[in-house]
């Protein structure tokens, strides 16, 4: 047990660094760059029941200190993930992995989770509830406590693995959503997903992204993530994974002091593919600077 080790829902992690879903594929592209077994774990690309191509082009835009994406959950579908991606993943990564699941109906969530539940390497299910509920009026599951609780309960019923509910920041009251998930049996909470934003193409006088809006990630959302993690950690007992704009060892400490048991790193992997390796390398020296012996001791250190 090193200085960096932490626990996430009963599974030990060598360190709190977890590449975030949608920015690390199924790991094998990054395994060409460095030994990804140094990571705590990683969360693979959001998986749906059917294969999805995702949204039309363009899907990416730059913003001050961040980027918008409207990829639209492109993925090969859960069957192909199990038959094709997980075997490739297994070759380069030998720890429990986090399976990120998306859905547009309760049924889709439970179908996908039930299938991934059978996969030995899956350590945790991370359930992304920022998609619109196509059977429930199109409002995102993650913007209503009752719907968030419903997804949580349904998923818990089909798996014995720890269930981490991933929350959207596009809400008035993040604490009420987190508490609803906790009360419905969630084993953990991860936040934040991207912030709904837009850019406009001045030449075309139309939204830059084909989809109109896109999700903001990157440094710009870091202070928003800190606020939400702080508020949620103060009000729930289950572990919180903090993410949003992390790009340095200092950011990791700040997120953990705000209440995170561990952190995920998203967009920063895209602009600096070695960022997770470098943060793991930098952590001990930065911890020394702030007189931190074991990183797990700082979780929630700033909560009053």
């Amino acid at each position: 047990m090193g200085r960096l080790s932490v626990d996430l829902c009963g599974i030990g992690l060598d360190n709190p660094i977890i590449p975030a879903s949608g920015t690390f594929g199924y790991g094998y592209e990054f395994a060409e760059l460095y030994d990804i077994n140094m990571l705590g774990t990683f969360s693979f690309k959001g998986t749906t029941r059917e294969p999805r191509f995702g949204n039309a082009q363009p899907r990416i835009a730059e913003t001050p200190g961040g980027m918008l994406n409207a990829v639209g959950l492109q993925n090969p579908g859960v069957q192909q993930v199990i038959s094709h991606e997980l075997p490739l993943l297994k070759k380069c990564f030998h720890k429990p992995v986090m399976a990120n699941v998306s859905g547009f109906s309760i049924d889709e969530y439970t179908d996908v989770c039930a299938m991934l539940d059978k996969e030995e390497q899956v350590g945790w299910l991370e359930v992304n509830i920022s998609c619109p509920n196509v059977h429930g009026g199109g409002m995102s599951f993650g913007t209503d406590p009752a719907q968030a609780a419903e997804v949580t309960k349904a998923v818990k019923a089909v798996t014995t693995k720890p269930v981490i509910m991933k929350l959207s920041p596009n809400v008035t009251d993040i604490v009420s959503i987190a508490k609803a998930c906790e009360d419905a049996g969630a084993d953990g909470i991860s936040l934040i997903n991207t912030l709904l934003c837009m850019r406009i193409d001045l030449k075309k006088r139309a939204p830059l992204l084909a989809n109109g809006t896109g999700g903001l990630s990157g440094s710009a959302i870091f202070p928003l993530a800190i606020r939400m993690v702080y508020q949620v950690a103060k009000n729930v007992k289950i572990p919180v994974i903090g993410l949003g704009g992390i790009s340095s060892a200092e950011n990791v400490l700040e997120m953990m002091m705000a209440g995170a048991a561990c952190v995920e790193i998203g967009a920063a992997n895209l602009t600096d593919p070695f960022i997770c390796r470098d943060i793991i390398r930098d952590l001990p020296a930065v911890m020394d600077k702030y007189s931190i012996q074991n990183i797990k001791d700082i979780t929630g250190g700033a909560l009053k």
Binding site: G22, T23, F24, G25, E29, F30, E32, L33, K45, F53, G54, A56, Q57, P58, R59, I60, A61, E62, T63, P64, G65, G66, M67, N69, V71, Q74, G218, S219, A267, N269, L270, T271, D272, P273, F274
Partner: protein, 245 residues
């Protein structure tokens, strides 16, 4: 793919807003013409993708047009400054399909990647015919450089102020060719697709999140399924292309 620092050796304008930048660094991962590098620019979040125009030992040549914030910042950089590059990105052109009489069609800042391609084809004993298309005389660049390689070069301008008036596709079938390679704006690629009489390869541009296959930002639909422009592309086989509109 490699991430490393390159030192700017030279950064000079070729036309009013097109610049050539020569950089020194680790070019080891650049293996094929048509590949690109992804450049970190201070103050901007995303990197900027630019095609490899030439590599000689540890000297990398890029040609870029100042169109927005990132490329404008690049145009103000001077020798001695360093840039953080991801190198060896993309599939690149497949030289083995060239046949005896390859045809290269470049439009605007689609011209640069064809330079290294032409060089490699000549090294392989072929003499490519090259058609370079621009809007107007003042925008023409690299005609002489292609000629110096020994290519059969023709220039077209839309307004006829230089070379042959019209688009590159106007003269594409003037002489026979075995295979074509092209890079340029999408309307030009479409025109080449329609007019060309042989098989060929075309290089595409997409807004990119990462440039190395991690984000699915650059996906496009093809005949054989979804592909990432940054990884399975930017060079696509003519037969595989599915025009989306």
């Amino acid at each position: 793919m490699k991430q490393s620092l390159f030192e700017i050796m030279e950064n000079t304008p070729l036309t009013r807003d097109v610049y050539r930048m020569k950089l020194r660094g680790d070019t080891g991962d650049i293996t094929r013409p048509g590949q690109f590098v992804n450049i970190r620019i201070a103050g901007l979040y995303l990197r900027r993708p630019v095609s490899v125009c030439d590599v000689e030992g540890d000297i990398l040549t890029l040609i870029y047009k100042a169109v927005g914030e990132g490329t404008r910042k690049m145009s103000g950089m001077t020798a001695g400054e360093t840039l953080d590059l991801l190198t060896g990105l993309g599939n690149g052109y497949d030289l083995s399909r060239a046949g005896d009489a390859p045809l290269l069609l470049g439009g605007g800042v689609g011209v640069p990647p064809l330079y290294l391609l032409a060089k490699e084809l000549i090294r392989a004993g072929k003499t490519p015919r090259v058609i370079l298309g621009f809007n107007t005389e003042s925008e023409v660049f690299y005609e002489n450089e292609f000629r110096a390689l020994g290519c059969d070069v023709m220039v077209t301008t839309v307004d006829g102020t230089y070379g042959t008036k019209g688009f590159v596709t106007g003269t594409i079938n003037d002489k026979p060719y075995t295979f074509f390679y092209t890079c340029g704006p999408e309307p030009m690629l479409k025109a080449v697709y329609k007019t060309s009489k042989t098989s060929g390869q075309m290089s595409f541009e997409r807004r990119m999140g990462c440039g190395f296959g991690a984000c699915m930002g650059c996906s496009c639909k093809t005949i054989t399924g979804s592909k990432r422009i940054c990884r399975e592309g930017p060079v696509m086989d003519k037969e595989d292309i599915l025009w989306e509109d």
